[in-house]
Symmetry: C2
Subunit: 108 residues, 2 copies
């Protein structure tokens, strides 16, 4: 049975997913995964943090359902599970643009 769109429980579930994206390093990783899966070591280089930190970030995103992993020998490869999350960035940029407009160019 489907939840009502505006039931509190639904907002909690959605917030968990959105929260899992709400970190610069995690956004950078999602962006990097756009062109295919990457091992933790690759992602570590991209975000430039301790491997353990990166691993924990990935766990957060995995639990949220944003990424999936695949073990291959010593390496664990992560991949985007629902690529549409990246499309959202266009809208996020629109928020930034709108803010810039209001901050610098509006008269009165």
């Amino acid at each position: 049975m489907r939840q009502k769109i505006n039931s509190p429980i639904n907002f909690e579930r959605r917030a968990r997913i959105i929260k899992a994206m709400a970190h610069p390093s995690r956004l950078a990783m999602l962006h990097a995964l756009a062109d295919g899966e990457k091992c933790v070591c690759d992602l570590r280089e991209i975000v430039g943090a301790d491997v353990s930190t990166v691993s924990k970030h990935l766990l957060v995103m995995k639990r949220a359902g944003l990424v999936a992993d695949r073990k291959d020998g010593l390496w664990v490869h992560y991949r985007l599970r629902v690529p549409c999350v990246l499309d959202f960035m266009t809208c996020v940029e629109a928020v930034l643009d709108e803010s810039r407009e209001k901050a610098c160019c509006k008269i009165g």
Copy 2:
């Protein structure tokens, strides 16, 4: 001059916006604002928290550029500034669906 799409500073800016959405009450408010502006008192009823809490949530979203406010006598009306943020919910639901599928119906 435009920032490179994957510059660290850009991920920070985007994370700030996404973080401002990453709370059940704030999502509920954004959803409620879809059909036009609402006063703080309306939003308070919708989320069922202390007015001061609601006010602080709104400040977070205002600073992020998600909502704008307009004073009218005693009331302050908030409105969505960039409605496309709500379109993202379709994708968030896809993440939830994908998770449900993997959890319950996949064989092997």
